[in-house]
Symmetry: C2
Subunit: 601 residues, 2 copies
C-alpha cells in the first residue's frame, strides 16, 4: 500500500540535518550553510567549503553526530526581530542565511525563528525533537556527497550537499540499504543491457525503445497471453494505423485537450495535417461507427496491442519507465448502460488475474475523479457524476479497497488507477481503466435498443498490462531478470558433457525447437561447470546436460536454474513436461512452484 | 507467367475499332471521331454525338459489325500530302482529326496516312488486317459506354467512348468474360466489405486501412504462420518504433533517395525533425550496430512484422492494393559473404513453401537490376556487379526460371521480384528480396572475422508475404473469400436443431472456445436450413448441427461448407480432428484436401 511518512520521523530527520551541520562546523568553522531539510529517506544539508570536502571525511562527521546524539543536547527555540537575527547571522558569517532572512523580512515577516542545539545555532522554522537522545544513535548514517547550486540557480555558487539516511531503527535503516542495493542490481536499464532486452539510440531518438531479440520475445509472449485471456473474455481484435488526419483528433478533443503531449503535425499542401496517434481510442471509435450497431452486438470489445506516441519532455524520459513510444495492451468495451457494471467488474478481475499470475502482491487502487472547477475536463457534470458513480459501485462490488483523488481523471472520464510498489517501494501507476460517456457523444456513437430507438453506448477504456515498456521494466525489477520458462528468451540450454555428445546435443536442440521451444546449444570448448555457470549468469531457466549415458538411453539430465536437484528422463517426457509448464504459464522461477516432471526419480 | 499480347491480336483489335466506327457512322453520320486504339482486352473508339448514344443501341452496332466482318472488306492504305489530308478530313467534317493532322504537320510530318475499309476512311498509322474476314465474327463483342475528354483534357469536349472486347476465338472471349465476372464477384473491396475485413475512413485518411475484427484475425494468423516459419529458420524477432529522427534517414540515404515517398517531417524547435518510417531496414541496422558482432553471430536474421508508411499519390490509391500504411512481414539477414548464397536460396525456398501452402501456382521471378547511367542508385559499380551476380547465381541454383529487367532495382541493391497473376490475370509484385552492399557501408556495419579483423556483412532484405494489405487482397480474390479453417475469422458455427438444444449448443461452443477455437452459436429463431444457408453465405468452413440425438450421445453432426456429406462424431474427437487440421494448416477449402475425421462413418 501507499507509504506515508509520519510527522515525527520527518522531524527527527530534520533534527539530524542540524546535528550534521553542527558536526561539520566543528571541523570546518568557516563553512557557509545553505538549506538542510528532511527527505523521503533521511536528510541533507548544503555547505560552501573553502577547500572541498571528500567522502573520506564522512565517517568522522558521522561518528561525531553519534556522540552529539548521545550527549543528549536540547533543541531550544527563539524568535528574534529581523534586525537582530540579521546581525547575529552576519556575526556568524552565514551569508546565505542572511540573504534568506532579508527575503523573509521583505515578504513581511516581522520575526525570524532560530534553533539552538549545543553550540549550533540555525535559522529554522522547525519543528525539532526535544532532545537529541530520542534518536537511536544507530538509526542513521551518512550516505553520499553531491553538488547543488545555491537555491537551484546555475548562476549562484555550487554548494556541497551531504546526504544522510535516517529511519526509526537500525533494522529499518539496514532494510532500506538492502532494498536500495537490490534495486541497483535490478535496475531495468542495467538488466535491460545485460540481458539484451532493449536499446535506445540517439540516431532514432530519445524515449524510443528498439526491442532487441530477447525483449521482442517478452513482448510477443505477453501479447500472446493478453490475446488468449481476451479471447476467453469475448474480445475481438482490430489493428489500426499509427497516424490520422487532424480531423479525427478535433472530433475526439485530443486537439486541443491533449495537444501538448502529441508529436507535431505532418503538414501537406492541400490536405489535412496528419498526426501520430497518442492513443488508440479514436481509431476504435471509427471502427464502432463504421456500421450500424444493435443492442444484440453489445458489449463489443475491441482490442489492439497497439503502439502509440506521446511527446514527453526530454527531461522526464527515463529508461523504459517514461518513454515517447509505447506498446499498449489496449481495448475499448462498448456497452449498453445495463452492461457497464458487469463488464467493469470483469475488467477489474482480469487485473486481479494478471497480478496473481505474476505474483504481484503489493498493489492498490485509486479512483481518479474529475474536477468540475477545472477546464481540463470535457463533457457535462451529469455524465461525470454518472460515470464516477458507476466506477465507485463496481469497485465496491468487486471487493477492491480504493482511495479517491479529485482532479486526476482523463479528460473524458474518471479513471481507476492500479498502483503498485516496485522493489524499492516506489509507487507506480501500472494501468488505468476509464469510464467514458464523453466520446460516444463526440463521435455520435449509437446502438439500436430493443425499443427500436437510438441510444448511446458507454465506453470502458482498459489496458491491464499497461504499456509494454513500463510493464517489462517492472517485471525486470520485480523478477530480477529471472523469467519463468514461458517468458524466457532462451528456455532451454543444451550442454554436451564433451565433444563426443555434440551431435546428440544438436539432435536434442532440434527436437525441442521442432516443438517451438526456444532451445540453444552451448558446444563451446569451456568446461561443463563453466558452461553451467554461464547459463546461470544468463538466467536461463533450464539446462539439459547430455553425456554418454544420456546419448545411449535417449535421455536428458535436467538442471533448473537455482536448484541443486537434477533429474534424468527420456527426451519425449521432458518435452511433454516443459510444454505443460509453458501452457499453464507456471512461474517456475519461484521456488514454491511445483514443476511437472521435476522430482527426485 | 507474364502475359504478352501478340502483335497480330493487337492489329485485329485496332481494325475492329475502325469497323465499329464505320458501323456507328452509318447510324450517326454526323458523329465526330476522336481516337480509336486497341486495348489490353479489345478496343475502343471515342465519338462526339449531337444527341447522346445509349447502351441500348450497342446490339445494333455490334450486329452491323458482324455483317461488315462477313462482307470481307479490304483495308487499303494511302499516304496523302498534309494539305490534301486536311482538305479531305474537313470535307468529312472530322474536326478532331483535322486538329491532330495539323499537329502532326507542325511536328514535321510531310505526309499523313489514311486507311479505307468499305466506305469508311480514317486517319491512322495502322497496321490493320488485310481483310475483315480474318476476324471470326463471334470473337468480339461491344462491352460498355463511358465518357472521356478529348485528349484527356478537362477543358475540351466530353466524348462518348464505346469499349469492345476482342480475342482470338469465341471461347477466349467467353473465358475472359467469365474471369472478369469472377473478378467482380471476388473484388477484394467488395469481399472486404461483405466479410467485415477492413474499413477506410475519410476521418483517418485515404490509404490507411483499419482492420476490422475479421481482418485482424487474418493478419494475426498470417503473422503466427510467418513467425513459426522464421523460428524454424533461425530468425530472431525485434520490434522498432514507427518514427525516427531525420539523421537516421540521412545515414541510410532515404533522405533524399526516397523522400518523395515519405510523409512530411514532424518539426520540433531545437530538435531534429522526426519522420514516419517508410521501411524497417534502417532501424534494424541500428540494432545490428548496437554491439560488436563476430562471424560466430552471423547470419543474424532480424525479423519484424512491422507497419511502415509511404506517401503514395492519392490518385494511385486503390483498396488494399495501393495504400499509404502497410504491415510488412519484413526481415534482414546479416551474412558473411560466404553465407549469402545459401541464405538467399533458403529465402527463395521459403517463398516456394508459402506459394505451395496457399496453392498459388501462377507465379514467376524477375531479377531487377540497377542502372549505372542513372542517379537513382546509391553505391559503387563494383558492389552492384557483385550483388547482381550473387542474386543471379542463387536463382539459378535454386532452380527458379527468371527474367532480368534493368533499372528496376531498389536504390541500394538488386531485387528479386516475385510476380504473380491474380484471378483476372493481372500481374502483381507479391514480394521482393534484395541484396545489399550499400547499407553496410553507409551504417559502418562490421563483424570480426576468424582473422581477428573487421569485415563488412552483406544484407539480404526479404518480405515473402509482401505487405499484409496486398497479400490479404490477393488471398481474398484468390480464394473468393473462402478461407481454410486455420485462417477463418469464424472457424465453427454451432446450430441447435431447435430451442431445446440451445443449452447443449452453448456447451459445445464453450468447449470449442476453451481450446481457443473461434466458434459461435447461431441460436436465432430462423429455420435450421436458413441458418445453414446463412453460415454458407458468411463462408464459415464448419457447421455443427446438434439435435436431440447429439445431445443424448455427446456428439456433433459436422457439415463442411460446400460438402454434401455430413459426419456424426463425439465432441472430443471432433475437437482433436479440427485442431490437427489447424496445426497442419490444411487448405480444407480446396476439395481435394483430405480432412482428418471427415469421412463417411
Amino acid at each position: 500500500m501507499r507509504k506515508v511518512i509520519p510527522q515525527w520521523l520527518d522531524t527527527r530527520r530534520h533534527s539530524l540535518a542540524h546535528i550534521m551541520a553542527q558536526a561539520v562546523l566543528e571541523k570546518r568553522p568557516d563553512a557557509k550553510l545553505g538549506f538542510g531539510p528532511a527527505t523521503e529517506d533521511g536528510f541533507y544539508y548544503d555547505f560552501l567549503f573553502a577547500t572541498p570536502l571528500t567522502s573520506d571525511e564522512l565517517p568522522a562527521i558521522e561518528a561525531r553526530m553519534r556522540q552529539i546524539v548521545r550527549e543528549d543536547e536540547v533543541f531550544q527555540r527563539g524568535d528574534l526581530a529581523v534586525d537582530e537575527a540579521v546581525a547575529q547571522l552576519e556575526a556568524m558569517g552565514q551569508e546565505f542565511k542572511v540573504e534568506y532572512c532579508r527575503e523573509l523580512a521583505a515578504a513581511g515577516n516581522a520575526t525570524i525563528r532560530l534553533y539552538r542545539s549545543g553550540d549550533f545555532v540555525d535559522m529554522c522554522e522547525g519543528p525539532h525533537v526535544e532532545r537529541t537522545s530520542v534518536i537511536p544513535d544507530d538509526s542513521f548514517a551518512l550516505d553520499s556527497i553531491a553538488g547543488a547550486y545555491w537555491r537551484g540557480d546555475e548562476s549562484r555558487p555550487m554548494l556541497t550537499r551531504i546526504y544522510g539516511l535516517a529511519f526509526e531503527t537500525r533494522e529499518e535503516l539496514e532494510a532500506f540499504k538492502a532494498r536500495r542495493e537490490l534495486a541497483k542490481q535490478r535496475d531495468h536499464r542495467k538488466l535491460g543491457k545485460e540481458l539484451d532486452i532493449f536499446h535506445i539510440s540517439d540516431q532514432v531518438g530519445q524515449g524510443l525503445a528498439l526491442w532487441l531479440p530477447n525483449g521482442a520475445v517478452l513482448i510477443d509472449e505477453l501479447e500472446k497471453l493478453a490475446k488468449e485471456m481476451e479471447f476467453r473474455d469475448g474480445y475481438v481484435p482490430v489493428r489500426t494505423p499509427h497516424i490520422s488526419k487532424s480531423r479525427l483528433y478535433l472530433t475526439s478533443g485530443h486537439l486541443p485537450y491533449y495537444k501538448e503531449s502529441m508529436y507535431p503535425p505532418m503538414q501537406l499542401e492541400g490536405e489535412d495535417d496528419y498526426y501520430l496517434k497518442p492513443m488508440n481510442c479514436p481509431h476504435h471509435h471509427i471502427i464502432y461507427a463504421s456500421r450500424p450497431r444493435s443492442y444484440r452486438d453489445l458489449p463489443l470489445r475491441l482490442t489492439e496491442y497497439g503502439a502509440v506516441y506521446r511527446y514527453e519532455q526530454s527531461g522526464e524520459l527515463a529508461g523504459l519507465l517514461r518513454v515517447r513510444g509505447m506498446w499498449m495492451n489496449d481495448a475499448h468495451l462498448y456497452c449498453t448502460p445495463d452492461q457497464v457494471k458487469a463488464e467493469f467488474i470483469k475488467v477489474l478481475e482480469l487485473h486481479r488475474f494478471y497480478y496473481s499470475l505474476f505474483r504481484i502482491t503489493d498493489f492498490w487502487v485509486r479512483l481518479s475523479l474529475g474536477d468540475p472547477t477545472s477546464k481540463k475536463f470535457a463533457g457535462s457534470m451529469d455524465s461525470w457524476e454518472t460515470t464516477e458513480d458507476m466506477a465507485r459501485k463496481a469497485l465496491i462490488d468487486a471487493g477492491f479497497p480504493f482511495e479517491e483523488v479529485r482532479g486526476e481523471a482523463a479528460f473524458y472520464g474518471p479513471k481507476v488507477d492500479h498502483q503498485m510498489s516496485n522493489v524499492v517501494g516506489r509507487e507506480e501507476t501500472a494501468s488505468t481503466t476509464q469510464l467514458d460517456l464523453v466520446m460516444p457523444e463526440r463521435f455520435g456513437l449509437t446502438f439500436i435498443g430493443p425499443d427500436g430507438l437510438e441510444h448511446r453506448p458507454i465506453i470502458i477504456h482498459r489496458a491491464p498490462l499497461g504499456t509494454h515498456e513500463r510493464f517489462v521494466a517492472f517485471l525486470l525489477e520485480h523478477l530480477g531478470g529471472v523469467f519463468p520458462t514461458w517468458l524466457s528468451p532462451v528456455q532451454v540450454r543444451v550442454l554436451p558433457v564433451s565433444e563426443g555428445q555434440q551431435a546428440y546435443g544438436q539432435r536434442v536442440v532440434d527436437a525441442l525447437r521442432d516443438t517451438l521451444l526456444r532451445a540453444t546449444l552451448d558446444a563451446s570448448s569451456e568446461s561443463l561447470n563453466k558452461r553451467i555457470r554461464a547459463a546461470e549468469v544468463h538466467k536461463i531457466p533450464n539446462m539439459l546436460v547430455v553425456g554418454k549415458r544420456e546419448e545411449a538411453d535417449g535421455t536428458v539430465t535436467w538442471r533448473r536454474k537455482g536448484h541443486r536437484l537434477q533429474v534424468t528422463l527420456p527426451l519425449d517426457r521432458y518435452v511433454a513436461a516443459l510444454q505443460e509448464t509453458i501452457a499453464r504459464r507456471l512461474m517456475d522461477n519461484f521456488e514454491d512452484v511445483e514443476v511437472p516432471g521435476f522430482a527426485a526419480g
